[in-house]
């Protein structure tokens, strides 16, 4: 239970950073997606129903503070969680480089899912240009931030998990 509370607090801090601090340091329109990194962390370390619920909650939290259609990010985060979970069952994803690669691919998958849904349901223009430039940059920035976020999550959650065990 304490682990859920700690994770929730970290998610709120990540959201605050993502909405207020990181946009000031954005490159073009791209800013690192810290909640996505947390979702990838769940996919790698929480192979259970609470992990999936956590990924959904992270996406829904992002929906709440975004101008998107409610449920769009929640759905994309669940897809990312499922893919990372399936990948981690088949591939050894334990060193820093492989985690960075997984986060990069997860960011690209999330972008693809969101854009597919937007284009399907709202018939918006300009998605091709966005996919090529902003999405790629967004994925790179998110991947570069991932070692730091993973370190914070490990340091905060491992002692709690050890205590609970």
């Amino acid at each position: 239970m304490r682990g859920v509370v700690v994770f929730g607090v970290l998610a709120m801090i990540a959201l605050l950073l993502q909405t207020s601090v990181l946009p000031r340091a954005s490159i073009g329109r791209a800013t690192p997606d810290l909640l996505l990194i947390m979702s990838v962390y769940l996919g790698l370390h929480q192979h259970s129903v609470p992990g999936a619920i956590g990924a959904f909650a992270l996406g829904y939290l992002q929906d709440t503070f975004s101008g998107s259609i409610a449920g769009l990010n929640a759905f994309a985060m669940c897809v990312v969680f499922a893919l990372v979970y399936l990948t981690s069952r088949r591939l050894w994803v334990d060193n820093a480089i492989s985690k960075i690669v997984v986060v990069f691919l997860a960011a690209m998958v999330k972008t693809a899912v969101i854009l597919a849904l937007i284009v399907t349901f709202t018939a918006s223009d300009g998605w091709a240009a966005l996919t090529v430039s902003t999405s790629m940059l967004q994925a790179v920035l998110t991947a570069l931030m991932s070692p730091f976020i993973f370190a914070v999550l490990n340091r905060s959650l491992q002692p709690v998990e050890e205590e609970e065990d």
Binding site: S20, P23, S26, S66, I118, S124, G126
Partner: protein, 249 residues
């Protein structure tokens, strides 16, 4: 006696020199630390003053703009931006408690920022004109050709539903028509950067560069429905596009 006098005087001078040049330096070191701290403090104050000056300038521009507007308006500060790049929304620090309601126009000194789409007690969310869900009834200021300015996913604006025969050129200024009941008439939306006329079809498209630098804007004015520009304020922006400020928050 003279050699002794010289020796004593020289040794006293030497001791005095050591005292003056070495022991007194202990105080100098402390003074140096103090002065360094003071310099840092003054530099910090300088940065703070520069920031205050810039904020003053921006607020003065906003106040000038406000004085040209007739109707209720609330100044607000942008406190957060959308966590994802493909949605253009921002959060402002004023909400229902300050009289902010859904579908109110949000403006900056140099033009339209967006409109409120959701409100809570002390904050409100603003849909920027560059968001793909945004649509504003607009006219080309020079030729009065009508269309709808919509946002695109890549952060620019496009004027759609312009009849093929209408007169639209690059550098034309696009302003609000006031017919949507949200935005006052004659507020600058942006400038035409490119016009696309296909070989077929009844319509033409115009790419529009927003007047407001939406990624840098910090203070905005939330305007109630029914507000309108005073005659003289409207005329001050009625000339060529260059007369109104471009790309400023």
């Amino acid at each position: 006696m003279r050699p002794f006098q010289l020796a004593i005087t020289a040794s006293f001078d030497a001791v005095g020199g050591i005292w003056g040049k070495y022991f007194a330096l202990v105080g100098v070191r402390q003074e140096n630390e103090l002065l360094r701290r003071r310099v840092l403090d003054l530099e910090r104050q300088l940065v703070h003053l520069a920031e205050v000056e810039q904020t003053d300038q921006r607020l003065e521009q906003l106040l000038d703009f406000r004085s040209g507007l007739e109707g209720d308006a609330q100044a607000a500060v942008i406190v957060a931006r959308d966590p994802l790049p493909w949605f253009g929304t921002v959060t402002i620090n004023k909400g229902e408690a300050d009289g902010i309601r859904k579908n109110m126009a949000v403006l900056a000194a140099s033009g339209v920022v967006g409109q409120t789409i959701a409100t809570s007690q002390h904050s409100a969310r603003v849909l920027l004109i560059t968001d793909h869900n945004s649509g504003i009834d607009a006219v080309v200021q020079r030729s009065r050709a009508r269309g709808i300015v919509e946002g695109a996913l890549d952060g620019r604006c496009v004027m759609k539903y312009l009849k093929r025969g209408e007169d639209v050129e690059v550098d034309d200024r696009i302003v609000t028509s006031g017919l949507d009941g949200i935005f006052p008439k004659g507020i600058s939306i942006g400038t035409v950067t490119h016009v696309t006329r296909g070989n077929r079809g009844l319509m033409q498209l115009a790419d529009v560069q927003p007047s407001v630098a939406l990624d840098r804007v910090e203070e905005v004015l939330v305007v109630a429905a029914g507000a309108h520009m005073k005659g003289d304020a409207l005329m001050s922006c009625a000339g060529p596009a260059e007369r109104c400020q471009q790309g400023t928050p």
